[in-house]
Symmetry: C2
Subunit: 204 residues, 2 copies
DNA sequence: TCTCTAACAGAATAATACTCTGTTTAGTGT
DNA sequence: ACACTAAACAGAGTATTATTCTGTTAGAGA
């Protein structure tokens, strides 16, 4: 990881400067007042752009949402890879999933907050197919990585469909609670406990 | 549980007929096209009401959302009580939490779908304080019930803040996946497995 | 029957999303 | 350096949607 922000990595170049600025301010608006309540004009005002510029780059409000959401997915995916590629055993693999997720959320709280908010909208909106395809691809990628891992000596009785939920369900839930302020302690403080709990939950 | 629908129980009486109808059609609209994309007029058209009636009962779109959301919370709470009051041991208590949650979702998929969608909006919108207060009250209620349970002979090492996530995180995640169509198998089929997994995840 | 309040209707208005036409600006080739 | 082109940008104008406002109707109680 270098020092560039997520946006600078995904939308590089000098000409995309305003585009990045729009996305950044849109993200802030969405997180501060909610997706439905933020108006195009409130975004426009914050980045001192024109509506023309916004619609030129993103087409409509859904377009802004989609650009932000898929930026999140891209960055998460890249981040997770680093952790997963080091895992040799099944337990290490599960642990890497949990810990990489927690680390990403703690390092990018604003983006994570947005992701939780926007998921439902994107899952309905015009990008739903793109999202479904991405999810499928990501699951397939996980399966492949899992195939390259040493699974001798361990027995998982839970059906495959249930595995993702058992592995990241608790962590996701806690991260959401933390981002919304319902709990105070950083998920980082519970990284290992969450990973261990996920592993125990798999033992049938 | 009787045969009355959730709405008939929460908004009883003949005079509230249109009010119930508005809520029912609003729920359908929100689930079919998403909260942001459903217009007041699309709701109005489906229940053959007037905008006047809608605004008389709910004030604004947030009002409809809030009425539906707190109806969900009320119904869930009542439903959970029945399960929890029977639990005598800690393990039974954890199991009751998981199983009551799964059962409720499977019995009320449309309401559950809505709850997932609306949570973020309500958590920002004008009812956020009412929601926060409710969450706090519910947590307090859980603690009290927990106090009445036999905890001798079991050792939970996880910090209290983490418990809710460890207990229902996986189930919630799987239910969400099921409601969105990402997985096919009904959560009901995994009730016991989810409860057992939650219990194992607590053992430190 | 009368009264009073909540329920309801729908035209009018306000707020917001989006379009369209033109202007500027950054690359690109000569 | 200069012209050319496509993308970036501006903002007035239009369309859509949320909300208000002024009434009318219907039902419960005196």
């Amino acid at each position: 990881m270098n020092e560039l922000s997520i946006l600078e990595r995904r939308f590089p170049g000098r000409r995309a400067g305003l585009k990045r600025e729009i996305l950044e301010q849109a993200l802030a608006c969405f997180n501060e007042t909610g997706i439905e309540a933020t108006t195009i004009d409130s975004i426009r005002a914050r980045c001192e752009a024109s509506v023309g510029a916004i619609y030129h780059h993103f087409g409509n409000k859904e377009g802004i949402l989609g650009a932000l959401f898929f930026t999140v997915l891209d960055d998460q995916h890249e981040f997770f890879e680093h952790y997963l590629d080091k895992a040799r055993s099944l337990e290490a693999f599960v642990s890497a999933l949990v810990i990489s997720y927690v680390d990403w959320v703690v390092q990018n709280p604003e983006w994570a907050r947005f992701q939780f908010q926007a998921r439902a909208s994107v899952a309905k909106g015009p990008h739903r197919h793109a999202l479904a395809e991405r999810n499928a691809r990501q699951l397939k990628g996980l399966k492949e990585k899992l195939g390259a891992v040493d699974t001798s000596g361990v027995k998982i009785s839970a059906p495959f469909e249930l595995l993702p939920s058992l592995i990241i369900g608790a962590s996701e839930n806690y991260c959401r609670a933390w981002l919304s302020g319902r709990v105070q302690t950083s998920p980082s403080d519970f990284r290992e406990q969450l990973a261990a709990a996920a592993w125990r939950s798999l033992q049938g």
